[in-house]
Every structure is written in structure tokens, then in C-alpha cells.
Symmetry: D2
Subunit: 363 residues, 4 copies
């Protein structure tokens, strides 16, 4: 198994950066769910490159063509299949990468695993471009979750150490206040982040950052014990997004520095609803949702493609060789990764909803 | 799916804290692999409670009885089944928890999910006790990995903010220097950590910490793209260990603050072997091992069971109620969690080895 | 994967004929389902050996001990684990089988697959004894299906060519008329079958037969297209029962000889319910139930263990050798296989019910 | 799960009879395997309609376009994705089927399951057209099996009761003698079968038949116990082929009428190789191959689409209504189903080879 995900839904993602198309099949989805193509396109546009100064100028439309599974704006019960054609392919740019792997990319590991048969152009199947079909699947799941009152929103916590000025309220996340143009709470912080990106670009370098994702409206009782827990399911898919190096939930790393009396979320009752006074658990206890917002963070490493010369090796000659990566690349993929993280979370959550096993209350 | 794991091997864990037994079935393991029961017991003893001053005095032998799959000291190809009988059951201690959930535990989420039918005694299936059968499975995988020259070692990075004095060398991990008695590099740091634990106990509180796990001897080319990557597979199982709130790989969170020129691991050749000069990737690129040590960290929250009074609720009356958790509990589970993290990593790695798909070189 | 089954529930079966115990883990079952131990025992007794003249005299109680997942007579949401201890183990009887495989058994294929490490005593994991834990799982599923008005009944169609005198009515199966003592419609036919069995025993030989299984009360719309169809799911598990050599549905083989005008089941309306006038489809169209009874047949080969001398080989010497299988064995396992087939069907159906994806009707 | 198959490879099939395209994704395939497009097309042509007098005149080219996973004639390690565009779509023909289900088709069950949202045109996802992408996947697997000396051949045993004059030799299957034009051993029998088909067409009716499939060159030791056995894995996928109503192995149904002394395959040694004197087991014991040819039969029901008027119902009015299916349809799909059965078997076998767990012989 590799590019497939799901216990109840079955997602299969295919294609390479420069193959005729990339796409996805999403099987196991109930019939009768609405598919709003325009809203999906708006979601995909958030991930699309070439929109502004800080991202790669390669322009793709990323307009999915549905080959099956959708009829007259609704799911029809058959597997949903969509492709995005790769129009802007420039394989020539990557010719020298076959023998000289780019540091930080999967060039070398792919060479070892696939023995030279791999599609190395543009990173092949390991390209960030493969997050587009992930966003098709996730964008659909987001629509279906919305029907259930479940909402997913992510924002940039920091880029290159430049942090958002406003913290997320883990008890009542202010998702509506996330910027549409640049997904942060504080526009001023967003400006500082953009400046950091611009500076990195000028210096032929790249920067990373941290994304926080929040899911509200989840019922309590979702998830399974042990390896089927919400953390396990989300972490598995989020780590499938290239460049993610850390996934944590609720207080996350900081929990390791707390006392139990501080970390435990005390219970309370508000308007007859059971809630917690803090949300260090990130809405999950024993792998199962407690009805509070589910919150996780993902750290994104700086884009491996930089224009500065780097030390690599010649694989045929097995000796050190300097490498300069040609072409223009995102100096920071964090803004474009925000909808990808949302998509990944939506797929994980919708998968769990489809297979949710609770008490059999027929008696 | 819940308490099952694995794409190629199939691990199923069962039992509750106070059920007649806990155990595991491990299917899909080749025949002919040695099973060293004594070495397994030594490994399990590292997890066992009641060994020293900082852990719970409940004494269980945690001696697994093999019901099938092992014959004359070797796997026989049939599913491996082992049980550990629960001898020291004291259900009475937990009677008041049915209506008043312990903050930080799964009591409330289990109540919602299972509608009152759940086994609430001692946390039921959510108890940390279930990590014992996980260690049976993982302890076996560790033996089988050792046959292939693959070694797993974990250590405590910090407890309650008290850090080990020596850093792991991510290029040449000094696994032999991890303390046998207390798994840190620096005995002095270990003493400071123990002091923090003792202090928390005195104050009726608990503390958490960070565990670092390292896997050496892995071949390059292990793992699959996207959702089958090494990070995805390890994160899924490690998040199945209770109290884990963060999992990161290589530079982890810190990668978000690096420049690309800093984070990219430059390649070099040493004695004809391709290596990297740094190991910020944690030995994984594109989800696939690059032959360098695989390194990840897991943050463990402080034990939710504390003797201080806490604010909870009465579920039947839906109003706030003070709760005092009775019994004696670990003020810090981090030391006992170290072998559990090793076990989880070993299972994930062995699963990937069994299903590793590389180039078909028959031509 | 091998001894595991299920897309939504996860069944794992373990143990060998002469290992300390055999058992099963059944994960993914909702909490709150009743577990009637007495009714389960009655079901298991139908499979148990040593009850009458035509079966093996080895006496086991086959009384499952639940290690987890069941509390106060209800499922508690944790994986259900049960073991049956092997008390009557006589490994000595099988010493000569290591080098000289019994024709018709898995001795030779196990030797090739497991390289001599396999547990050859009594067929090891391939023993028909492993159908006991299958019946534990299936017996539970039968109880839970009954709660939904779904009923499963199987009968012997023929043994050694001796056929039941009464046919099943595929439109309104007369399940209540299946004999309790010997599962046929016609007691006279049952007598003739028993006579055939007795005769085979006298001649040191064995006989096979055909079992028909019927499931009533199923809602229309259960099952998935293609490989997730009811036939696919049932056939997979039924072929996991030793000695099954054929599985067919509805008209089965006979459909190959029909005209379309004859084989197509015409629709009608009875009391406002849509039904078919015939049931050649066996209640399944496109892999999905149509609300009519689901009917399938399984052919059981004659017991491979016969007391007559047979031609085998010496594996070490690679030459032909005569083999006489010692011990006493069932000259016909068909009667004992009847509840096993019911159990297998129940597991498949309950698995499909848990994961049934139909129209999302929330709008 | 529905239109996905595989434990080690992951096959996902998508599309509907009249959607823009049909296709498949095949994940988990090693890199470096040759893909001979021409040979694949020859294989697909055996399934294609419109080739001769006995099949439907709808002409599709069924020429798969590879969107990913294949590079320069070899697999590249990425998921293999292929689509076949649906050019000849005539949705109008099916307008009346929405309310009046065709007997023998999945129209009614799809209506119940998908609540009217299903794509009813041409049977939608349930159409036999979906066997084209199955043949793409299977045709590739056949090529890769051939590299290992494994060969798959199927023939028609009978159509409408008209049987082939020559029997398959289960010890040394004469696969080369299967007719290229019409897959039978005896051309004369083939002529008689065609006459039966032509006659059924004249009478506005349809006929079914039996296909026998044989796999040679398999190593002994392939397959897993219980639910992972060769029979289980093949039956699951073959029952995913529309119109299959029976799957049996080796002696199949006839085994139920044999004595053990007759059914057991005695062992012998030929040229140092262990073989059996008969092959009633169909090459499988305990779910595992014994090195003899694997042989199974599948019964295909007569095409449900017939031009004669049939009794159906009006779904909106819930009353009986006569239905005449318009358009021209195959009076017999058995000849076209032959390569589909081969494809299904090849996928199952290749999946098992990828995940084959045998003795770990590293010591």
C-alpha cells in the first residue's frame, strides 16, 4: 500500500508531476451527497500555484474533470474519479537530476527504491503537485462535513519564526477571522511573514512554518481506541503531505512540560452541554472526540528546492558534486499547504464518520 | 477498525484493565523466526510497573502465555497469540468513576461512545495496561529486526522540563550509552528527572516528558509514497499509545524555523557509502528511508491520574462535581513508556519490511 | 493476511489443533449487543465432535472463555476475545506425518510454505478444529442478526449422493422444518445419509456432501458493487472453511444451462412489497440484496483422513511410500460443517451490515 | 469498500457505462516491470464487443490511456492509472429503466441502495463494461506472471448445455490447444455453441455457460491459511465479475459425490519432482498451492438483457408492468467473459505473489 488511504472510504491518488494527468478515485461514498463544483474550484484555487508573488509561476488550472461517480451534481454511489490534466510539462528542466539527487527531496530514496525506473521529472509521484487530487477528495469531504455542521479551518501560526499575533481560542475557535487572502488572524503578521518569504527568495533560499488546523462541530464519540484513534488517523494522512515533519494535537509538545493538574481539562456544564474549561487534549481523549474542537498543528519544513548551490553527489560516480537546482520554485509552500492540511483532515474525519461504531441502541 | 494495526502483519490487541486477560494476535509472520522468551521477558520487564519508587506499586508479572504460533522456540507460520492474565484486579476502586469521569482520561468519551456498556474499571480497554500486549508484539519484532541488523533504542529527552545533558548524535546514534536502569544518556540528568517525579508525587501531581526513538541499520528504500510513508506508518501506531500528544521526525518542529539551505541534508560519500552530512530529515525523504538513522520524538502528557481533587461533572445530574481519584498511580509514565515506543516503532518497521515493494529485478 | 477476515468488523482466528488453546478476536463490534452464552453454547454443540455415532470420538467441551469485550452479558465496545483450551492433545499420533504427508490434507503444502517449522500435529492451524472459534464469532453474529430479524439456516442437501427428499422453497424458505438432530428436511433421507456414512466408515473410507444455506429477513440494498458484493464476501469466508470445494448462489451452476427468459426473476408486487416470482439470483443482483432470501450452496469434499492405506511420499527420501493414517476420524464432516457454514455466512452478513453505505438521506 | 480489490496490490475500478470514462488504478506494483502495450491491446480485444456475429454491435476501441505509473515501457513504481474514454454513449435508450427495473440486472437493487441518485444508464457502474478496466489490470498482471513462468488460460466448457468435446487434462493442461478465435478445445463444439447462441438471438433470448480457468507454473507454497487461501482470494474477485453464479475448484461439486479414497490426490515423484496422480484438489490444499495446476470453473448466467417482453414493475406505482428492453445486446457473454476470468485470476494470483509470506530462511 502506498498512495491509498481510508478504512471506510478508499482514496487512491495517482499521477506524477509530468505524467499526462494526476487524479484520484474515492470509493465508498454514499449516494445523494451534493457536489458543488464551483465551491470545490474555489477551494482548489487556494492551493493552486502562480497566484501571487510568493509562489511558483508555473500556471496550472487544476480544474478537475470528473470521469465517474458524480451525476447531476450529486454522488451516484459509484466510485468518484477525477483527473487534472498536466498541461505545463517541462521535462527537460530535470534531466540532470537523474544522476544527482536534490537534497531534501525524494530523488535519492526513489532512485534506491525504484532502481532507476522512477519518473524523476519534477519529483514524479513525490511532487507536491500530487496534493491537488488530495484537495479534490478533501474539498468534497469538506462539503459533506458541512452538511453535518462540521467545519474545518486552518491558519498559519508562523513562517520563518514570524508568528501570528493572535492565538486560536481552543474553546471557541474564531475560524471566520482567518484571512481569506492570507490565512492568518493578524493581517500585520501576515505582512511580516510575506516579507520573510520575499527575503528568502532574494537570498535564493526558502523558509518553513507551522499550520494549525481546527475542526468544529464534531459530535462526541467519534474515533476508535488505540490505532483507530482520531490522532492516529489524522497523523497518518497528514504525514502523507510532503514536507510535514511534525504533527501534534492540543497542547502537543507543550504537554510534556505541564503538570497533570494543569494539563487535565476540567469538565464543566454550560447550557446543559458538557464541555471542558481548557482544551489541552485537542478535543480527543483515548482517541475519541469529546465534543470540543479538535485542534492539531503541523510543521512544514522549508521548500527543499532552493536556487543556491548545494552539495550533492554524482550517483554513477559515487562522489561529491555541487548541484544548482534550476527553474523557479516556491520559497515557501506554507500558504499553499494550508488548504492541503484542511483537505487531509477532512478526509480522515469523513472516513471515521462513515465507519463510526457506537452503541447499538436498537433495544 | 480500532485495536488492529498493520498492512502486512495483522496485529490485534484485546482485553481490558480488569478483564480476565489481555493479549494479542499477530498474524502474517513468516515461519522459522526465533522466539527468545527470556529476552522477551527482559524487554517486558522494562515496561512492567512496580519496579521502583517512581511507578505504581500494582505488581503484575506480565508473563505472556503463548497459545499458538510458536513451536519449539520458533514461529510456525500460524498466527501468534499470547495472553497475560490479569491477576491483581480491584474493580471496587473504580465504582465512582462510572458517573464522574476523570479529567484527561477516556472515561467520558467512552461513556458517550459505548453508552454505559463500556468496561470502566481501570479505564477498561483504554488503560495503559494494554501496552503490555503491544510490547509482546513489539518485543518479538525487535528480535526479528535484530536478525537483519536493525536496532531500535529510545531514551528520555526530558521529564518535567529537566533535559538529558547529552544530545543524540543523529548521524551515529550512541544507543549503547543509553542507561539500562533509567533510559537517559546522562545519569546525573536521570537523577534530576527522578527528583522531579518524586516531587510531583509528593504534591499529588504528575509530570510528562519527551521520548526520542532511533532506528539504525535500516536499508535505504524502505517505505512507500504518500500515506504509506515511514512517518505515516510510525505516527499511526505511536499515536495508539496512550498519552502521546506529539510525534515528529528528524528536526521536527524546529524544521519550521530553518532555512532550506540549513534544513536540507547535503549528501556525501564515506567509504563508498552515500550518507548525509546532517540528519534533519530523520532518515526519511518522501516517506522512504535514505539509509541514515530514522529518528522521531514523542511527547507524553503528564499522567491524568493525580491524587489532587479535580473539577469533574456528575453525568447523571449534569452538574459540576469535585472528583478525587483514589488508589496509587504513576506520577510519571515516561520511563515505562520508553519500551512501549520502541515496541510500536518495531511493529511499524517490521510491517513495512514484510510488505516492502521495490524494483522487480528479475530481468 | 491469512486468518483474518472483515472489512468493518475484524476477525482474527488463532491456534493449532494441539496448541494450548484456539481462539478468536472480534474487533469493531458496537457496544450494547447482548451475548447469550447459553445460546452460543447450544450453537457450538452442533459443531462439536463426539456427539454421535458418525463423528470422531475425541471429546472436547469447546466451551469458550471470554477474555475481553463482554461485560455483564453485553458487548462493551472493546474487542471480543475468546479462547477454547485444548485439553485432549495427543501429539504422538502424528509423529510419522512430518515426513509423509497425508493426501488431501495441507501437510505437504504447509511443509513447503513453512519449511518444517509448521505445527504438523493434527494438521496444526489447518485443522478443522479451527472452525470452533469461527463458530464462536459466527454464533455471536447470528444472535445480533436475530435482533434485526435476520435469520440463517443451513441444511444438508445430499451426502454421498443421497439427497434430501424435500427441496428448499427459495421464495419462502421453510427453515423451521430443518431437523434439529440431523439437519435435513426429510428424516427418512437423513437416515439414508447416516447409513451411507456408516457404510463408508466400515469400509475405512469417507464421504462428502452438499450444504445449502439460507438467509432470510435481509433488507434490500445490502452489499457493494464488484468485489464488495454479497457473493464475493460470502464466498471468501466460506472458502476459508476446510474441505469446501464449491460455492454457488441461487440457481448456481444450473444457471449456465438456462435461457435468460427462464433465469431472470420476474418482479411482482405482493401486499405492496416488491418481490420476485422465482429466486434464481439467490437474492442478489449486482452484488446487492434484493430483499428475497439469500441462498447459497457449498460442496464439502469427503474427509481426507481415511483408514485405508494411501499412496504418499517420503519427503526426506523423495520416493513413494504407503501411508496409513492412524487414529479415528470422522467418515463425514458434512453434518458438523452445517453450523460452520451458518457461522461463516453470519460473519459476512454482519460485516456488511456494519459497513453498509446507502444513500445519505440527511437532506 | 466496493470496487477495490487486493491485499498487497490495491486495485480500484471506476466509471459507469455512460460516464465520460471508465478506468482503474493499480497501486503497489514494483517498479521495473515491463508493460507491453500491444500485447495488452491484443488481450483487451478478446473482451471487446462488436467483433463478430454473436456479440453486441456497440463498437468501442477500449484503448487504455495511461495517465501515470508507466514510463518508457516499464512500471515506474507510482500507481498505474489508465482510462478508457466512453465515446459511444446513448443515454436515451435507457430512459424508461429508471422506473421499471430490468429483471436479472442490478437496476432494482441499485435503486434501493442509491435512492434514485444512481447512474441507471446502461447499468451504470454495474455494467459489464466495467470489466474492461479489470482486463487492463489483469492483462498487465498476466504479463508480469509470464515473466515468472506462470501462465493463465481459460476456455469455454459449455454454452447452453453444448459441451466442449475435449476435457482439460488437470495434470498437464493443454493450454496451447485452446482456440484463438473461439476459446474451446474442439472447433466442432465451438460451432455447435455458436449455433446455440445464434438460435437464442433469433428467439429474442439469451444463453449462459461455463468457463474453466487454469493456472500453470505456480510454485508450491503460495496462499495463506483460512480466509487468505487461494480459493478465497480467487472466488472473491471472480464473483466481482457480473453474471458469475458459481465458482468451484478442482473436482468442485463432483467432490461431494466422491469417496475420500477417490478424491484424495495420491502423491508421487516424477523426475525428482513431487506431484499428484490426480488433481481433484485443483492444485490447492489448505488454501495453499501444491505445485500442480490451479483449476477452477465459473458458471455464467444467461445475459439478463433479452428482447422478449418480461414482467417487471413500475417502481413509482408499485404495480406489475410489462417491460421490453430496447437496443441490441449480446445473447451470450460467455466468450467475452473468458479473458475477464483470466484477468481476475491473474490479479488474485499476482496479489498473492506480492504478499507471499513463507519461511524466513535468513539463518
Amino acid at each position: 500500500m502506498s498512495s491509498t488511504y481510508g478504512e471506510n472510504l478508499k482514496l487512491s491518488i495517482f499521477g506524477q508531476s509530468h505524467s499526462p494527468a494526476i487524479g484520484m478515485v474515492l470509493d465508498g461514498i454514499p449516494a445523494g451527497l451534493p457536489v458543488d463544483a464551483e465551491r470545490l474550484q474555489e477551494f482548489l484555487n487556494r492551493r493552486a500555484p502562480g497566484q501571487n508573488d510568493y509562489s511558483t509561476p508555473r500556471r496550472e488550472e487544476d480544474r478537475p474533470e470528473f470521469l465517474g461517480g458524480v451525476l447531476d451534481g450529486f454522488t451516484c454511489g459509484a466510485p468518484i474519479a477525477a483527473v487534472i490534466h498536466n498541461r505545463n510539462t517541462r521535462s527537460g528542466d530535470y534531466a540532470n537530476l537523474k544522476d544527482c539527487p536534490r537534497p531534501g527531496h525524494a530523488d535519492y530514496t526513489a532512485q534506491i527504491k525504484y532502481g532507476g525506473f522512477q519518473d524523476y521529472a519534477g519529483g514524479g509521484h513525490f511532487s507536491g503537485r500530487l496534493t491537488a487530487p488530495l484537495c479534490v477528495a478533501g474539498g468534497l469531504c469538506i462539503q459533506w462535513l458541512a452538511e453535518r455542521g462540521i467545519r474545518i479551518g486552518a491558519r498559519i501560526v508562523s513562517i520563518a519564526g514570524e508568528a501570528d499575533d493572535v492565538d486560536l481560542d481552543p474553546l471557541n475557535p474564531q475560524l471566520d477571522l482567518i484571512g481569506k487572502d492570507f490565512p492568518v488572524f493578524s493581517p500585520a503578521a501576515g505582512e511580516r511573514m510575506r516579507a520573510k518569504i520575499a527575503q528568502a527568495r532574494l537570498e535564493g533560499d526558502s523558509v518553513g512554518g507551522i499550520i494549525e488546523c481546527c475542526i468544529t462541530g464534531l459530535p462526541a464519540g467519534l474515533g476508535e481506541p488505540m490505532f483507530g484513534g482520531v490522532e492516529s488517523r489524522i497523523a497518518q494522512i497528514v504525514y502523507g503531505v510532503p514536507a510535514v515533519k511534525s504533527v501534534d494535537f492540543g497542547a502537543g509538545y507543550a504537554a510534556a512540560y505541564m503538570r497533570g493538574s494543569q494539563c487535565n481539562d476540567a469538565y464543566t456544564v454550560e447550557d446543559g452541554q458538557i464541555r471542558t474549561l481548557t482544551n489541552n487534549s485537542g478535543g480527543i481523549l483515548g482517541g475519541i472526540t469529546n465534543g470540543m474542537p479538535v485542534i492539531f498543528q503541523a510543521a512544514i519544513k522549508p521548500t527543499p528546492s532552493i536556487s543556491r548551490p548545494q552539495q550533492s553527489i554524482s550517483l554513477p560516480r559515487r562522489q561529491v558534486q555541487e548541484l544548482t537546482v534550476k527553474g523557479r520554485h516556491d520559497p515557501c509552500i506554507v500558504p499553499r499547504a494550508v488548504p492541503v492540511i484542511e483537505a487531509a483532515a477532512a478526509i480522515a474525519i469523513y472516513d471515521m464518520i462513515l465507519g463510526n461504531t457506537q452503541t447499538d441502541r436498537r433495544k
